[in-house]
Amino acid sequence: MSDERREWPLWEVFVRSKRGLSHQHVGSLHAPDAEMAVRNARDVYTRRQEGVSIWVVATADITASSPDEKDAFFDPAADKAYRHPTFYHVPEGVRHL
């Protein structure tokens, strides 16, 4: 390791709330490594009892879609309304739907 001061890497933080089923992205922070990132996340994002579980992921490890690809990725879905389940009639007597 070099003695030169370097910026800490960035981590994305996911917190599962007490009633939540899945971890939700809550923000990002800097930390020297994953273990410290979990601790920093505890101090930054769960100070007000927001969560019961924390995940952190190195931001550099996330592969994201590019803004340049936005049109090709998402526009084709715009005119395919039939993909929404709004064309089905729910028969009377069906419960728990």
Binding site: D3, W8, A31, D43
Partner: protein, 250 residues
């Protein structure tokens, strides 16, 4: 002053003074995340100090509340350990102090959960979880600094050399603690030391740090109000607002 009042005052002053020292890192820590971590710990300690000073005031029976005790006592009436009043130094100094002190405080509170004094047991029961996190934070950082870069290793070793002599005072006994231990109220320093020594030794070893040889210097006197000259300026800063505007509220 009753024995319990004096004992609560000692523990409360430890928490109060260290809380203020850690709060001084606000906006000065190496990274904003660490800034928040240290001031979170400071707030935990402040909460403990408030509860302990309240107990001290009630048991003393002279009508003093937590604010009177925190803000209106002069330096010689503070009963904190010497190690908590030292200036923050660099980040390594602060982390090594956190390691030495929170390891002590964690076993202290763990013992006090079984105190025959219900007020002290209640404070300890709440605080023990907080301090478990403080110790974890200190251990994690000690390992990273001690076994990190050459510079971080040198600085944490230097911090250890500076702070090591102060550990003796953590485990001192006097007539007051002897009476309270007999009554099942206070924690026995001999018991605390039996967990402190091996725990700290293991962390230092893993962090590639070396415990210094014991010298003649063993700073003490905090429990009797004999402090380093460094405490006065800190109290002046801490007490200034309350003394200028007595009873002021946000």
């Amino acid at each position: 002053m009753s024995d319990v009042a004096e004992y609560a005052l000692r523990l409360g002053d430890d928490a109060l003074v260290l809380s203020h020292r850690l709060a001084q890192w606000s906006a000065s820590a190496p990274e904003i995340e660490e800034d928040i971590a240290l001031t979170n710990i400071a707030l935990d300690l402040l909460g403990q100090a408030r509860r302990l000073l309240t107990i001290a005031g009630v048991r003393e029976g002279q009508g003093r509340d937590e604010d009177d005790l925190a803000y209106l006592r002069p330096e010689r009436e503070f009963r904190n350990l010497r190690i908590v009043e030292l200036d923050n130094g660099d980040f390594a100094d602060t982390i090594v102090r956190q390691l030495l002190f929170s390891t002590y405080q964690l076993s202290l509170y763990a013992e006090l959960t079984a105190s025959t004094d219900p007020d002290l047991a209640a404070v300890a029961g709440k605080a023990v979880k907080e301090v478990a996190y403080h110790r974890d934070h200190a251990v994690k950082w000690t390992l990273r600094l001690g076994d990190g870069t050459q510079k971080s290793h040198e600085r944490s070793q230097a911090a250890l050399e500076r702070l090591w002599p102060y550990r003796h005072e953590l485990f001192e006994t006097d007539e007051l603690t002897a009476r309270l231990i007999d009554a099942g109220v206070a924690a026995d320093p001999a018991v605390l030391r039996s967990t402190w020594d091996p725990f700290v030794a293991a962390v230092l070893d893993q962090a590639t740090l070396t415990a210094p040889e014991d010298g003649a210097r063993k700073p003490t006197g905090g429990r009797r109000g004999q402090h380093g000259e460094i405490l006065g300026p800190m109290l002046a800063e801490m007490q200034w607002l309350h003394r200028s505007a007595p009873g002021v509220r946000w």
